[in-house]
Structures are given as structure tokens and as C-alpha cells.
């Protein structure tokens, strides 16, 4: 839209400049023309005066006959006419037509260059005859081969309703040049202005050409010929987002293709991949390369049924065979698909949702496809009122994710994960990132924590053989109200408290370790355990191990994930954490174990426990208990 508007503005500017140039040209020609008209008017006034004088001086009906008969009068009139000669009027003379139709001189204002009376004159112009016949004065521009004459006023002198003489008043060319000289500075300024206007127009055209060329280059990804991110943003500047559906596609393990065959072959695979997708797209749909191996398909809603289309595309891409160095190659993709809900306007937000879903696909072990519900886009963050309503109605559910003993490969513990239930979308749980920020520090947080602890103790009571861990933010434990509630719940369920762990997340640097030591002592009073969540990232650092009584270190998922990309370097880091944990008597849990390769490496390193989608996603505890039986 910006581009089109800019083009329109530039065209309007160019048009305005051209109009202005034409106006200048018109104005200057008008000025010249008005000078000419002024001079002609002056000549006509002179001619009128001369005519009146002649008619007064010459008696009788035939002016010519009188002049023929009075040579002394001719001489007198010639002298008077001479007085009219100025620098403007080069020649003034009077002609008549003889019987044969030839023009003959009667009177002449030039005393220094007198013409014999009745000598012949060839005007070499038809205008003389026209004026003689019609009796109407005319101005004529002399043809070539004249000397020093700019314009000629042909003025008929009539008597007894008949043209008897023709007065010729020649305007001097030198005077015209003089007038033009006066006009010259203005003309010069206009010419300069026109030149600079023309230059500006050319410059504008050149800039616009370059701008358009650059725009075109920016709109398309050079390598894959897919559209660029720039195009996408520009496109949704012009079109409404909710008229389209989107599919995010990421090629799995593409690094290995580059590593195995080299970047050139990798690029070729990318090009072929892009071509395959584009050939499969319906009309008006397009493919965008987000960067690296991530693509985005944008499809108008009324063209295809998004679920079946994306499933077909997924199948097609999975089955597609690439030939690289004479070897057949299959690639897999991870896809997240969004049926964009009505009212969605933020592309960034929609992309974030697709990204989050893509991450889930990756955690599930890639090579899969997940769909985004409308809820993800519309109400990503809940208001305090909405959360209060859900908590008051106890629309809270705890899901459980198993933590596996790497030796026995059996679930030994479950992490309790709180979810809210939005009645409008009951099949889609509301995750903490959608509401936690708004309830922290409020009574709703307290309410929610109480509900979670009760649910956890209820589960521990129902299943006496299992262990659970719940999440707590250390910052909240500084709140005495929260702490009192926890202690009350622990006291009420003290017989089961030793099967409960608290996973402490620390978002800020701990400045007062003594206070935290006291809090941890209180939490462990009834036998509960303490685990540090996301160890190895942010503030969950080595100082905690030094100062606090910790039972378990849960290694941050971002580190575990690197086992797949940079196994050797990550293993060195994990070994150092392992040595530290052993030294302080802590157990280690590896989070985000999403695929077998990672699990194998975690196991080989000798880490104690694993948690992640490879073993199971968060589900109601009954689902796991049924499988354990």
C-alpha cells in the first residue's frame, strides 16, 4: 500500500511539474504576445491619426487625384509623415493600385530614402490585396527576404466607401529585438526553471525506477523464489489477515543435509522444496520464506479446506524424493496450521501462535502437524476478571507429566501442571503463560495455588505409590500469606508431604540467601523435597547449590535440546553440572527430552531422570495410571 501510495504521489508530482512547465511556457508566450499586441495597437493608433490628418489635408472625394494634382502638398505630407517615424516604426508609406492592379507609391515618410512618386511596388504578399478589397486593417508578419521588418500593419484609407490608399506601417525588427531583450531575463529565468524542473522529473523517474527495482528484489527470496517477509508485511498492510489461513512449515534436520552434501546441494534441495510447495498451492495462495528452513503458506479462506489441504501437503512433502548426488533423499517437515479466526488483525501475534505450536511439534519429536484453535489467537492473555471467574467456578484442572528414572525407564514422579478451563473453548486448556502474569501478587494467585496443592494432595492420597512435584515461584514465597497457606496445606497433609517436591523457579537474583534458606527449611519441615527448576539458565545458577539445601536440579530444557545440535559441547557442560550435583548430593532431571536420540545421550551421560514429550505430554493422571496398571 505504501509503495502504491508513493508511486501515486510521485506521478502526481511529475504531472504537476509538467503542468507547471507548460504553464511557464504559456505564460512567457503570452507575455511576448501581449507585448506584440501592445505595439500593434500603438501602430493602429498612429495609423488612425495619420488617416484623420490626410482626410483633413486632402480635399475632394478622390485622394489619389488630389495628390496627383498637388505635388507640393505631397511633399508637405511626406514631411509630416516623417515625424511619425520612430525607432518602433521603420517605414510608413502609402500605396494605391493603378489601373493594371500594380501598387504604386503615393506618400513616403522616409525623407533620407525617398521613393519616386507613383513608382511601382511589389508587396510579395496576398494580404495587401485582402486588405485593399475588404477595407479591414490587418497585421502581417513579413515573409523571408525582408530587411529589418518585424510586423507590417496594413491600414486601408477609405473615402466615398472605397479603399483609395493603403497605409503600410512597418514595425522595426530592431525594436522587436529590443523588446525581446527587455523580456530576456524573464525568459531566461523561465528556461532555467524549466531546465531544473525537467532535471527534477528525470531524477524522480530515476529514483522511482530504482525504488521499484529494489522493492521487487525485497519482495522475493533470491534462493527459493518464494515471497519474502517484507512482502508478507506489505501484503497484510493491504489485506485483512482473517481472510486467510496460514501454515508454518519447518524442514526437519536440514543441518544434516548441509553437513552431509554441502551448502550448494542444500540450497538446491531448498529450491526444489519451495517449488514443490508452490506448485501445490491454489490460486492466490503464496509461499513465504521466513528465514533458514522455515516457510509460511498463506491461503485465501474460500479456496481450500485448510485441514485436509495441510494434511495433503504434509503427506506430499514427506513422500517427495529429492535426488542429491545420485542418492534418493527424503525430508520430513514440522507443520503448524492456523485457521485464522475472524477479528484477528495482528500478523505478529498470529505468527507467535504458529511458532508456539511449531515448538510443540518439535518437542513432540518433529515430523508432525498440529492445528491451532481459534482461542490461541483471540484470547491469548486472560484478564484478571476472567481468571477470577474461572477460579471461583473451580474451572481448574491439573495435568501430569511423567519424570522417568533413566535406569529403570519407569515413571517415578509426575510434575503437576495447572490449567484453567475456558467454558467457551472447553477442549483447549488455558496455560499459565496466558494468565499467570495478571494474577501474580493478587488473591487469585493464592486461590489458585491452594487449589493446585489440594489437587496434588488429593492425587497423592488416591495413588499412594506416586510422587509429585509442583511449581513455585520463589518470589511468591516471600509473600507471607502464600507461605502460610502452603504451610497450612502441608500440615494438613503431613503424612503425604514427603512424596511432594517443590520446583522452585527463580526469576530474580537472590540477594538474601538466609531468607531463602529459612523458607526452604519450612517447606522441608514435613519431608518435602526442593528442586531448582531451569538450572543452567537465567538466575538459576551455581550459587544456589552453594548456599541452599537442594535435592534436585532440573536442567534447563534449552540445554538439553542442544544435545541434538551440538552434542559434544553440550555433553561437556552437562558433565560439569553432573559432577556438581554429585558433589552436593543432588539428583539431576533432564527436561525437554523430546526424542529418542536426546534420551539416549542423556542416559549415556548418566543423568538420573528424564522428562519431556518423548515420554508423555501433560495429561490427567488417570491416563498414566491406566497405562501403569
Amino acid at each position: 500500500m505504501q509503495r502504491n501510495r508513493l508511486s501515486r504521489v510521485i506521478f502526481i508530482i511529475i504531472g504537476a511539474m509538467l503542468l507547471f512547465m507548460s504553464y511557464l511556457q504559456y505564460a512567457i508566450s503570452q507575455t511576448t504576445e501581449s507585448i506584440k499586441t501592445l505595439e500593434v495597437t500603438k501602430a493602429q493608433e498612429f495609423a488612425g491619426k495619420i488617416e484623420r490628418y490626410l482626410k483633413t489635408e486632402i480635399k475632394g472625394d478622390s485622394l489619389v487625384a488630389y495628390l496627383d494634382a498637388h505635388p507640393e502638398k505631397r511633399h508637405e505630407i511626406d514631411k509630416m509623415l516623417h515625424a511619425f517615424l520612430t525607432k518602433e516604426f521603420r517605414y510608413i508609406f502609402l500605396l494605391t493600385k493603378d489601373k493594371e492592379g500594380y501598387y504604386r507609391f503615393l506618400l513616403d515618410a522616409s525623407i533620407d530614402e525617398p521613393v519616386p512618386y507613383r513608382s511601382i511596388f511589389f508587396p510579395n504578399s496576398d494580404v495587401y490585396d485582402q486588405v485593399y478589397r475588404s477595407g479591414i486593417a490587418k497585421v502581417t508578419k513579413q515573409k523571408e527576404h525582408t530587411e529589418g521588418i518585424w510586423l507590417s500593419l496594413l491600414y486601408p484609407i477609405k473615402k466615398a466607401n472605397k479603399t483609395q490608399m493603403l497605409m503600410v506601417v512597418d514595425l522595426s525588427e530592431a525594436y522587436s529585438e529590443n523588446l525581446n531583450r527587455l523580456n530576456d531575463p524573464l525568459i531566461r529565468i523561465v528556461k532555467y526553471m524549466q531546465f531544473f524542473l525537467l532535471l527534477s522529473i528525470l531524477l524522480l523517474i530515476y529514483l522511482m525506477y530504482n525504488y521499484t527495482r529494489m522493492q521487487k528484489a525485497l519482495m522475493t527470496d533470491r534462493l527459493t523464489a518464494a515471497k519474502s517477509k517484507y512482502f508478507l508485511n506489505d501484503f497484510f498492510g493491504k489485506h485483512t489477515l482473517d481472510a486467510y489461513n496460514m501454515i508454518m512449515i519447518d524442514i526437519d534436520e536440514f543441518k544434516s543435509i548441509n553437513a552431509r552434501f554441502g551448502y550448494e546441494e542444500g540450497d538446491r534441495v531448498l529450491r526444489e522444496f519451495s517449488k514443490t510447495v508452490q506448485e501445490h498451492l491454489p490460486n492466490n495462495a503464496f509461499l513465504v520464506r521466513n528465514g533458514g528452513t522455515e516457510f509460511l503458506v498463506v491461503i485465501p479462506k474460500n479456496t481450500v479446506q485448510i485441514v485436509s489441504f495441510s494434511q495433503n501437503l504434509f503427506k506430499l512433502l514427506k513422500e517427495k524424493v529429492y535426488v542429491v548426488e545420485n542418492e534418493p533423499l527424503h525430508i520430513t517437515v514440522s507443520m503448524s496450521v492456523m485457521d485464522v479466526p475472524e477479528g484477528t488483525s495482528s500478523l505478529q501475534k498470529a505468527e507467535r501462535v504458529l511458532d508456539a505450536r511449531m515448538l510443540e511439534v518439535k518437542n513432540l519429536g518433529k515430523n508432525s502437524i498440529l492445528f491451532v484453535g481459534k482461542h490461541d489467537v483471540l484470547n491469548r492473555t486472560y484478564s484478571l476478571e476472567q481468571v477470577r471467574y474461572m477460579l471461583d467456578a473451580e474451572q481448574l484442572i491439573c495435568l501430569y507429566q511423567p519424570i522417568i528414572d533413566n535406569q529403570t525407564e519407569k515413571a517415578v514422579r509426575f510434575e503437576v501442571l495447572a490449567r484453567l478451563i475456558d467454558k467457551e473453548y472447553p477442549d483447549k486448556y488455558v496455560t499459565p503463560d496466558q494468565f499467570m502474569d495478571v494474577i501474580k501478587g493478587t488473591s487469585q494467585y493464592l486461590k489458585m495455588s491452594k487449589l493446585v496443592l489440594r489437587e496434588a494432595f488429593g492425587t497423592l492420597q488416591k495413588y499412594p505409590d506416586i510422587y509429585l512435584s509442583v511449581n513455585l515461584d520463589l518470589n511468591d514465597l516471600y509473600n507471607t500469606e502464600v507461605m502460610s497457606m502452603i504451610m497450612e496445606e502441608l500440615k494438613a497433609n503431613r503424612l503425604m508431604a514427603d512424596r511432594l517436591s517443590f520446583e522452585i523457579l527463580e526469576e530474580h537474583e537472590i540477594k538474601d540467601y538466609d531468607r531463602v534458606v529459612t523458607i526452604f527449611k519450612q517447606l522441608k519441615m514435613y519431608g518435602s523435597k526442593i528442586a531448582i527448576d531451569d538450572f543452567g539458565s537465567g538466575y538459576a545458577n551455581y550459587s544456589h547449590v552453594l548456599h541452599l539445601d537442594i535435592d534436585t536440579l532440573k536442567v534447563d530444557g534449552s540445554l538439553i535440546r542442544e544435545l541434538s545440535a551440538m552434542p559434544e559441547r553440550t555433553e561437556i557442560l552437562l558433565r560439569s553440572i553432573q559432577t556438581l550435583a554429585r558433589g552436593f548430593g543432588c539428583e539431576i532431571v533432564a527436561e525437554f527430552v523430546s526424542e529418542q536420540t536426546i534420551y539416549e545421550r542423556v542416559k549415556a551421560l548418566g543423568l538420573d531422570y528424564s522428562q519431556g514429550y518423548y515420554f508423555g505430554k501433560p495429561q490427567p493422571i488417570e491416563a498414566y495410571m491406566a497405562s501403569l496398571k
Binding site: 500594380y102 522616409s110 521613393v115 511596388f121 511589389f122 521588418i149 512597418d170
Partner: protein, 116 residues
């Protein structure tokens, strides 16, 4: 007209000579008796012509003037080309043309007049 012979012209004015020297069909001569045409450009040439004519009454050639006055003063001149009020004037006198049996092309007919 490749075979047409060149015209022999008597002119003593260097300006006219300079202009006409580019004409292939014109050859300058320095004696009246050798000339097909004489171009009168001033009064002195007219005087010399008169003297020559007096001495050789049978002599006859075509005269052309570059001034109105010369045309008027020399009865043998068939025409003239001169400037009048900043405009070029070309004229021929019909009786004099007839005397020399000269017939002008159509395009020059409009410049033929009976009397000055």
C-alpha cells in the same frame, strides 16, 4: 541543361562578382562587346556604357540594373532587382523584353510591367 553555353556577364562591382562567381553558367568578361549581359550597379558604369554606345551605335546587349534609378535612367535596361522599404523588388519592362525577343518563364510573368 549540360550543353547550354555559359552566359557572358559584364559586372565590375566586386560584391556582385563575388556572389555570382559560384554560378557555373556565368562567365565574367571585361569588355562590353564580349558580354551577353551587363549588370549595372552604379552610375559610373552607366556613364561608360553610354560613351561606348555613342561610339558603337550598332552595339546591343541585355542590360539589367540593381537600382530603380538606373533602370529609369537607362532605356536599354530590361529589368532590375533592388530593395524597396526593406523588401526585394524584381521587375521587368515588357516593351524592352520584347525588343530583345526575351520571353520570361511563367513564374516571372507577374513581375512584368508595361511602364515604370
Amino acid at each position: 541543361m549540360p550543353n547550354k553555353p555559359a552566359y557572358r556577364l559584364y559586372v565590375d562591382d566586386p560584391v556582385y562578382k563575388n556572389i555570382l562567381k559560384k554560378e557555373e553558367k556565368v562567365v565574367f568578361v571585361d569588355r562590353f562587346e564580349n558580354a551577353d549581359f551587363i549588370l549595372f550597379t552604379d552610375e559610373s558604369l552607366l556613364e561608360r556604357y553610354r560613351e561606348y554606345k555613342q561610339a558603337h551605335p550598332e552595339y546591343s546587349t541585355i542590360l539589367f540594373a540593381t537600382r530603380y534609378r538606373l533602370l529609369k535612367n537607362c532605356k536599354d535596361a530590361v529589368g532590375a532587382l533592388y530593395w524597396r522599404k526593406g523588401r526585394p523588388q524584381l521587375l521587368f519592362l515588357k516593351p524592352r523584353l520584347k525588343h530583345h525577343n526575351i520571353v520570361l518563364p511563367t513564374m516571372f510573368k507577374k513581375f512584368e510591367i508595361e511602364t515604370l
